[in-house]
C-alpha cells in the first residue's frame, strides 16, 4: 500500500534507530531507481528544471556525505563509549586545530555550492528575447491568461478554473486520474519558443507554479513579476497555486498544454474567432432557456466556489442566493452588485471578468435557479445600458 513501507518496517526492527534512520531514509533514495519518480524531485522538461534538479542532487549528496561522517562518528561513540561497556570518560574539552578545521571545511563546501547556484539563478533571471508574452493573473480561485503578443491585432484572454466535479471532492463519485489537477480551459503555449510570463493578482497573493518547468513566482496584487520558459516536449503539464489564498487555495490548479508552433497558431486563430463570436453575442437577444444554459456555465466557473452549486452560500461570509433580497429585488440592483462587487468583502467586481452577455446570463440564472422566480429576462443590452 505504501511505496515506502519496506524501510519503515526496517526501522521498527532496529535498536538504535536514531542513528540508522537517516541512513535508512537516504538508502531509500539510493536503492530505489524504481521509486525514484515518487521519492525524488522530478527532473522536469526544461533546461532550467534540469539545472535545478542537478543542483538538488549535488546538495543532496553533500548532505548525505556530511550525514555519513557526522552520524557515523556519533554511532561509533554511542556504541563504543558507553559506561555499560566499562568505558572511562576522557576529560578533554578543547582542540583548537580541530575546531578551526571544522569551521573552514564547511565554509569551503558552501562556497563550492554557491557558485553553481549563482550561475543557474542568473540564467533564470534572463527574461529578455521572448517570442511571446502571457499575463498570468491570479483570482480567488482561478487563473486568467492574457496573450500580449504585439504582432497580434487582438488580445486573447480567458479564465482557467478547476474542472473536477464537486461530487468527486465530496466523495460521492470516484476520483478521476487528474483529480484536482484539471481545468476547464488550459493555458496553451508553443513548444521551442521562449515564453515570458508576467505574473500578478487581482485580490490576494497567489503563486503560479509548474514543477516540470522549474518556475514558480508569486502573483502579488499591484506588482508585476516576470519569468520565462522554453518547453521542448509537447505535452500537458500540471501545477497548483502555492501561496495560501483563502478557502479554495487547494482548488485552483494550473494546466499548461504545450503544442508545436503550427498547432499553437491555429489554436490562437480559433480563439480570435471565439472572441468575435462573443462580441456578436453582445447585440443578440436570447431566449430564457439559452440564458439559463449559459448562465449555469458561467455560474459554475465564477460563482460556485463561494455561493455553492445549491446557491445556499456559506453565510455569513458568502450570502445565500435563494429567495434573498438581491435575487428577488430590482434586477438592475442585482446587476450592479455583480458588476461592481462589494468593496471590503470577497465579493469581487466582475466588470472586467465577464462580458455583458455572460453577466446577463448569470444574473438571469441566479434569479431563476434553485426555486427562485423573479419572472424577468436579462439581455446583454440591459447590461450595456446599465454600464453606460
Amino acid at each position: 500500500m505504501f511505496p515506502d513501507s519496506r524501510p519503515v518496517r526496517q526501522i521498527f526492527n532496529l535498536r538504535h534507530l536514531f542513528t540508522t534512520l537517516p541512513l535508512a531514509a537516504l538508502g531509500i533514495v539510493l536503492s530505489s531507481a524504481g521509486f525514484a519518480d515518487e521519492l525524488n524531485l522530478p527532473v522536469g522538461v526544461t533546461d532550467i528544471s534540469r539545472d535545478i534538479y542537478n543542483l538538488h542532487m549535488i546538495i543532496l549528496w553533500v548532505c548525505v556525505a556530511i550525514g555519513v561522517i557526522v552520524f557515523g562518528a556519533m554511532a561509533i561513540s554511542i556504541i563504543a563509549h558507553r559506561r555499560s561497556r566499562g568505558y572511562e570518560a576522557r576529560q578533554f574539552h578543547d582542540n583548537l586545530t580541530l575546531e578551526v578545521v571544522w569551521t573552514i571545511i564547511p565554509f569551503i563546501v558552501l562556497v563550492a555550492l554557491a557558485a553553481p547556484s549563482t550561475v543557474v539563478l542568473l540564467r533564470m533571471y534572463d527574461t529578455g528575447g521572448e517570442d511571446l508574452t502571457i499575463e498570468v493573473r491570479g483570482y480567488q480561485w482561478k487563473w486568467q491568461y492574457k496573450y500580449l503578443d504585439d504582432d497580434r491585432n487582438e488580445t486573447v484572454s480567458f479564465f482557467s478554473s478547476l474542472a473536477t466535479p464537486r461530487e468527486e471532492i465530496d466523495n460521492q463519485a470516484v476520483k478521476g486520474e487528474y483529480y484536482l489537477l484539471e481545468v476547464d480551459k488550459p493555458l496553451v503555449i508553443p513548444t521551442n519558443r521562449k515564453v515570458r510570463f508576467l505574473v500578478t493578482a487581482e485580490d490576494v497573493i497567489h503563486s503560479w507554479w509548474v514543477p516540470d518547468f522549474g518556475i514558480k513566482r508569486d502573483a502579488v496584487p499591484g506588482l508585476l513579476n516576470d519569468m520565462w520558459t522554453v518547453v521542448e516536449q509537447p505535452g500537458v503539464y500540471r501545477g497548483q497555486c502555492t501561496e495560501l489564498c483563502g478557502k479554495d487555495h487547494g482548488f485552483m490548479p494550473i494546466v499548461v498544454n504545450a503544442v508545436p508552433p503550427d498547432e499553437f497558431n491555429s489554436w490562437y486563430d480559433e480563439q480570435l474567432g471565439l472572441a468575435e463570436a462573443r462580441k456578436a453575442a453582445l447585440s443578440k437577444t436570447f431566449s430564457a432557456e439559452e440564458l439559463m444554459v449559459e448562465g449555469e456555465r458561467v455560474y459554475n466557473a465564477f460563482c460556485v466556489s463561494c455561493h455553492l452549486p445549491s446557491g445556499a452560500g456559506i453565510p455569513p461570509i458568502y450570502p445565500s442566493l435563494i429567495g434573498t433580497e438581491v435575487v428577488t429585488g430590482p434586477r438592475d440592483d442585482h446587476l450592479r452588485l455583480v458588476i461592481d462587487g462589494v468593496p471590503g468583502t470577497s465579493m469581487q467586481s466582475f466588470a472586467n471578468q465577464l462580458d455583458a452577455a455572460q453577466l446577463a446570463a448569470v444574473v438571469h440564472y441566479e434569479r431563476h435557479a434553485w426555486g427562485n422566480n423573479a419572472g424577468d429576462v436579462t439581455q446583454p443590452r440591459d447590461v450595456i445600458a446599465l454600464s453606460e
Binding site: 505504501f2 562518528a73 556519533m74 561513540s77 575546531e99 564547511p106 554557491a114 490576494v204 495560501l244
Partner: protein, 532 residues
C-alpha cells in the same frame, strides 16, 4: 510588633495557600511552573488542531471539515505551538533554572515576572475564542500575509491582532527580566565565560526577543490600521505594498526561528556533558557560535521570500547569508558529538531525547541548507518539503529539547525521580511517531504537494496516510508524558541534590526540591565547578 515580624517571616519562608499563591506569586519557581503548565496545555490544544488537520488529510477528498475551517486549524495550530507551547516552555525553564544556575535567590524583577505570565492565558483565550465566533477564527496562515489578512480577513482579525500584541508584550517583559537577572544577579565568581550554556543561549535569545517583538507589534498594528482606519500600508490600490509586509514580518520571523531553537541548544549543551560524564567540548566556540547565529539571523530574512520577485542582487545576498548560517550551526553539532566522543555514556530519557535532537535537528538543518539554494528553492518553496523542514527543526528540535529539559530537571523541581521505564517508552513512541509523521512529507513535497491545502491530488495519498498515522502515534504518546510528569510530582524515589551522577552546575548543589528562595546566600563559583 512580634506578630508583624512573624507574618513577615511567613511571607519569606513559603508560598501563600490556595489560588492567591498562583495569582499573586512573584516567586520564580511558581511562575516557572505556571509557564510550564500553560505551555503543556497549549501543546495539547495545538496538538488537537494538528490531529484534526492530519485527519482531514488522511485521504483525498473533503471528509470532516470545510476548507475554511481547515485553514483556521492550520493557522491556529501554528500560532499556538509557537507562541503558546514552545516560547512559554522556554520562559518557564528560564524562570526555574536561571536563578538556580547563576546562584541568585530569584529573578531580578519579580512583579514584572508575574505580569508577563498572567497576560498570556488571556491572550490565548481571546485568540481561541474567535474559533467560536460567527465569522470564524484567523484563517490566513500564521504568517498572516495581507491582503488575505486585511481586506479579505474575517472580522475576528481584530482579536487576533490584540492577542498577538499581548503575547509580544509578555515576551518583551520576560526578556527584560531574564537579561537583567543574568547581567546583575550572578553569584561571585560566575563570570560571563563561566556561565552554563543554557544561560548564554537564553541571554542571547532575550536580546533577540527585545529586538524583534516590537517589529511584530508594528506589523500587526499596521494590519489593524489597514483593516479599521483606512490606511493602505499593505494595499497596493492605496499606494501600499503587500510585499513590504513580508519583509517586516520575516525581519521578525527569522530571528523568531532562532528564539525557538537557541534555548534548545542550551538545554542540549547541559544534558550531553552530564550523561557523557565529560565536559562540554569547545565551550568558547559554542558561545561564539550562538552569538554568530543570532547576528546572522538578522540578515537572512528574505530567504522566506525567494519567489516573491526580488531583484537578483537581493536573491544572491540572502542565499549567501543563509548558507553562511550552516557554519556556526555545524560547529555546534560537531561540538556535541565531540562531547560524546570518548565519554562514558549512559542513556537515560533526557539523553535519549538529546541524542535524537542532535540527529533530527541536523536532518532539519540539511533540508534547510537545500532550501537556501535559491534556484532549488523555487521548486521546494511552499510545498510539504518546507513543512517537513521546519517540523524537523521544531518538533524533534525545539520540543524534544524541552521534553529532554523537563526530564533532566524534573527530579530537581519535585524531588522525585520520574519513572525511567515509562520515560524510555515515551521517548521511543515519540521518536518513531515523529519520523513517520514528518519524513514522508519530504517526499510529498518533492513530488509537488503544496502546503496549506485541505485536499490533494491522488499521487500524494500514500505519503499523507502514513504521515497521519505517525501523527496519531506521536500525538497520543504525549499523554504518557503528562502521566509521567504527574506521577513524578506525586511521588517516587527521592532524587537527592545531584540527581544525575555526571551533572555539574550550581542547580545541583541545592536540595531537591530546592528552597523557596533558591540561593539566599550567594555561592562562590570556581572554574572547576563551572566547566567540568
Amino acid at each position: 510588633m512580634s506578630a508583624i515580624i512573624h507574618e513577615h517571616d511567613d511571607h519569606h519562608h513559603g508560598p501563600a495557600y490556595g489560588i492567591t499563591r498562583w495569582l499573586f506569586t512573584t516567586n520564580h519557581k511558581d511562575i516557572g511552573t505556571l509557564y510550564l503548565w500553560l505551555s503543556l496545555i497549549m501543546f495539547f490544544v495545538g496538538g488537537v488542531m494538528a490531529l484534526l488537520v492530519r485527519t482531514e488529510l488522511f485521504q483525498p477528498g473533503l471528509q470532516f471539515m470545510s476548507p475554511d475551517f481547515f485553514n483556521q486549524m492550520t493557522t491556529n495550530h501554528g500560532l499556538i505551538m509557537i507562541f503558546g507551547a514552545v516560547m512559554p516552555a522556554f520562559v518557564g525553564l528560564a524562570n526555574w533554572m536561571v536563578p538556580m544556575m547563576i546562584g541568585a535567590p530569584d529573578m531580578a524583577l519579580p512583579r514584572l515576572n508575574n505580569l508577563s505570565f498572567w497576560i498570556l492565558p488571556f491572550a490565548f483565550l481571546m485568540m481561541i475564542a474567535t474559533l467560536f465566533m460567527e465569522a470564524g477564527g484567523p484563517n490566513f496562515g500564521w504568517t498572516f500575509y495581507p491582503p488575505l489578512s486585511t481586506t479579505y480577513a474575517p472580522d475576528t482579525v481584530t482579536f487576533f491582532v490584540f492577542a498577538v500584541h499581548m503575547m509580544g508584550a509578555s515576551s518583551i517583559m520576560g526578556a527584560i527580566n531574564i537579561i537583567v537577572t543574568i547581567l546583575n544577579m550572578r553569584a561571585p565568581g560566575m563570570t560571563l565565560m563561566r556561565m552554563p550554556l543554557f544561560i548564554w543561549t537564553w541571554l542571547i535569545t532575550a536580546y533577540l526577543l527585545l529586538a524583534v517583538m516590537p517589529v511584530l507589534a508594528g506589523a500587526v498594528t499596521m494590519v489593524l490600521f489597514d483593516v479599521h482606519f483606512g490606511t493602505s500600508f499593505f494595499n497596493a490600490g492605496g499606494g501600499g505594498d503587500p510585499v513590504m509586509f513580508q519583509h517586516i514580518f520575516w525581519f521578525f520571523g527569522h530571528p523568531e526561528v532562532y528564539i525557538l531553537i537557541l534555548p534548545a541548544f542550551g538545554i542540549i549543551s547541559q544534558i550531553i556533558p552530564t550523561f557523557a560524564r565529560k565536559p562540554l567540548f569547545g565551550y568558547k566556540s559554542m558561545v561564539y557560535a550562538v552569538a554568530s547565529i543570532a547576528i546572522l539571523s538578522f540578515i537572512v530574512w528574505a530567504h522566506h521570500m525567494f519567489t516573491v520577485g526580488m531583484p537578483i542582487a537581493g536573491q544572491l545576498f540572502f542565499m549567501y547569508t543563509t548558507m553562511l548560517i550552516a557554519v556556526p550551526t555545524g560547529v555546534k553539532v560537531f561540538n556535541w558529538i565531540a562531547t560524546m566522543w570518548r565519554g562514558s555514556m549512559t542513556f537515560e530519557t533526557p539523553m535519549l531525547f538529546a541524542i535524537a535532537f542532535v540527529v533530527l535537528f541536523t536532518i532539519g538543518g540539511f533540508s534547510g541548507l537545500m532550501l537556501a539554494i535559491t534556484p532549488a528553492d523555487f521548486q521546494y518553496h511552499d510545498t510539504y518539503f518546507v513543512v517537513a523542514h521546519f517540523h524537523y527543526v521544531l518538533v524533534p528540535g525545539a520540543i524534544f529539547a524541552i521534553i529532554a529539559g523537563v526530564y533532566y530537571w524534573l527530579p530537581k523541581w519535585c524531588g522525585h525521580m520520574y519513572d525511567e521505564t515509562l520515560g524510555k517508552l515515551h521517548f521511543w513512541l515519540s521518536f518513531i511517531g515523529v519520523n513517520i509523521t514528518f519524513f514522508p512529507q519530504h517526499f510529498s513535497g518533492l513530488a509537488g504537494m503544496p502546503r496549506r491545502i485541505p485536499d490533494y491530488a491522488l499521487q500524494f495519498a500514500d505519503f499523507n496516510m502514513l504521515s497521519s498515522i505517525g501523527s496519531y502515534i506521536f500525538g497520543f504518546s504525549q499523554l504518557l508524558f503528562l502521566f509521567i510528569v504527574v506521577k513524578a510530582i506525586r511521588g517516587g524515589i527521592a532524587a537527592g541534590e545531584r540527581a544525575w551522577d555526571g551533572a555539574h552546575g550550581l542547580e545541583w548543589t541545592l536540595p531537591s526540591p530546592p528552597p523557596y528562595h533558591s540561593f539566599t546566600h550567594p555561592p562562590r563559583v570556581t572554574e572547576a565547578e563551572a566547566h567540568s
